[in-house]
């Protein structure tokens, strides 16, 4: 593999990680509306949506030995087009349609011509809204930031 194509692959993987993270946090309604605007290629469901569990791991002290904290419900599915390209949907929770929508958009986004439309048209606005919601929660928390004064005690 040439260095150039290796770099391209790394960049492509990073882009895919970004859009999958955004799609997994998106609302079903907004994804559904967006999907209606796209013609889907011929595809087959390699894995129909199924709900199950994943064990959430944590680390002692945050940085030490791994241990099992408890499980989380996860729904997943996978869709394949005729070229064998695979769209995967993994979402927290038990919403089958959400997983399907993530997989369908993951498939569409791997097509470079559609990507040029979907990244700015779908992913960027979703990401901006998710960031705004996080910022709002953070700003509300920040309003409760406090400075404690310790007073000298005793004589």
């Amino acid at each position: 593999m040439s260095e150039q194509s290796g770099n391209r692959e790394v960049a492509a993987q990073a882009a895919r990680q970004r859009w999958l993270a955004v799609l997994a946090r998106a609302g079903v309604a907004e994804l559904e509306t967006q999907l209606a605007r796209h013609a889907l290629p011929a595809l087959s469901w390699l894995r129909r949506p199924e709900s199950g569990l994943m064990m959430v791991r944590a680390r002692a002290g945050g940085t030490g030995q791994q241990y099992n904290q408890g499980e989380v419900s996860v729904t997943r599915c996978a869709v394949q087009d005729e070229t064998g390209r695979l769209g995967v949907g993994y979402v927290q929770g038990r919403d089958s349609r959400h997983a399907e929508l993530v997989a369908l958009f993951d498939l569409l986004l791997q097509d470079e011509t559609r990507q040029a439309d979907l990244l700015p048209g779908l992913i960027a606005p979703l990401a901006a809204r998710q960031a705004a919601a996080r910022d709002k929660a953070s700003a509300q928390a920040a309003a409760t930031r406090v400075n404690f004064f310790t007073l000298a005690r005793g004589d």
């Binding site: 994943m54 996860v74 927290q92």
Partner: protein, 364 residues
């Protein structure tokens, strides 16, 4: 000995109907929705998720509704449900350093980078009943906002670690996969990973009492709440078909890093040691109690004298699970007719001979 008892089917079916009716209560009062429980009883939901060992707010809220608010029963329902689902795998260890902070306090450093953030806490409320809620409440004011918190909020323990004053907390060689108590029975001696999983699922009341006992002198661990943080953490998994990590959403976690004075041993210099607590959702009391008990259960590895209940791993870990404890205590109300008959016979025989000389006494 257990002997099956048959019969009572009609009575049982009728009791189901009566239970459903009692759960619903007065039908003139609107029915509670699962969404209402999820939104407005989020701390109850958090406890059921933590001890039910399943992060799913909808299912936990449903369990609370079905159990008519009985937390231990709701936890049992959630545990039972999880056994019907396939396990897809495990997540990467959650990185609480990258938490989207909504609360973060330290009892050890007043000025820590990023600051102390109270968040939504009952700590500074007056604990006076709010009768406006009785009158179905008033519209709350939108919370104030300030400039968003820095993205990077270092853990207090990481700051102490920089000075070498606290024991390092690094993965063992090879970063081994932990034992999973939902797959394998609890065995002793239990390593820290086993203990932490057990404590994460443990009954909050039990941990609270044990943690309290350590403060009252039943094992001196000199604890300070180094840091407590609560907020959202991304869940990352590595699907087999992709081979790289992806995020699938966020979960709310509460983490407590207890910092404990330690005089040192033959192998370790005087330094601070750690106790760790982590719980699903907003569950500060649970996380704090867990961190106290985690620390006291480390007595053996730190060569401390083991004298108190909170230091005895076998005692603590074997009795911490509310589903097991509730089941075993409550099984006493199930029919024990045959056992009791035999005990009855025995007591009657003992009474008949009570006070009479034993054969040995007669021959003497």
């Amino acid at each position: 000995m257990y002997v099956a008892v048959k019969g009572g089917e009609t009575a049982i079916l009728n009791s189901y109907a009566l239970l459903a009716d009692a759960r619903r209560g007065d039908t003139d009062v609107p029915e509670l929705s699962v969404a209402q429980i999820r939104q407005q009883m989020r701390l109850a939901v958090a406890r059921v998720m933590s001890e039910g060992s399943l992060y799913d707010e909808d299912l936990a809220a449903l369990a609370i509704k079905q159990a008519a608010g009985d937390q231990v029963e709701a936890i049992f329902l959630l545990r039972a449900y999880r056994t019907t689902l396939p396990r897809f795998g495990y997540t990467l260890p959650v990185d609480t350093a990258r938490m989207g902070i909504r609360r973060r306090i330290s009892a050890t450093f007043k000025e820590l980078p990023g600051g102390q953030v109270l968040g939504p806490t009952y700590d500074y409320t007056q604990r006076l009943l709010d009768f406006t809620l009785l009158a179905n409440g008033v519209a709350t004011e939108p919370p104030a906002q300030a400039e968003a918190l820095p993205a990077d909020m270092p853990r207090v323990t990481d700051l102490l670690a920089g000075e070498g004053l606290i024991e390092p907390e690094t993965p063992p060689d090879g970063d081994p996969a932990p034992v999973d108590l939902s797959r394998e029975p609890l065995k002793f001696p239990a390593d820290r990973a086993t203990r932490l999983q057990n404590l994460a699922r443990a009954d909050e009341g039990f941990l609270l009492a044990l943690g309290y006992s350590t403060q009252r002198g039943y094992s001196h661990t000199h604890p300070f709440a180094g840091e407590i943080r609560m907020g959202e953490v991304a869940l990352e998994i590595v699907p087999e078909e992709l081979g790289f990590a992806i995020e699938i959403g966020d979960i709310t976690l509460t983490e407590c890093q207890m910092v404990n004075q330690f005089a040192g041993s033959s192998t370790a210099p005087p330094q601070f040691t750690r106790g760790y607590g982590l719980a699903f959702g907003e569950a500060e009391r649970k996380a704090m109690a867990m961190s106290l008990v985690d620390r006291s259960l480390r007595s053996q590895e730190l060569a401390e004298a083991i004298k108190s209940p909170a230091q005895q791993a076998e005692f603590v870990l074997s009795h911490s699970d509310s589903v097991e404890a509730s089941g075993f205590v409550q099984h006493l109300k199930l029919p024990h007719y045959v056992d009791f008959q035999s005990e009855l016979e025995l007591v009657r025989r003992m009474r008949a001979t009570h006070g009479q000389p034993t054969p040995e006494e007669e021959t003497a």
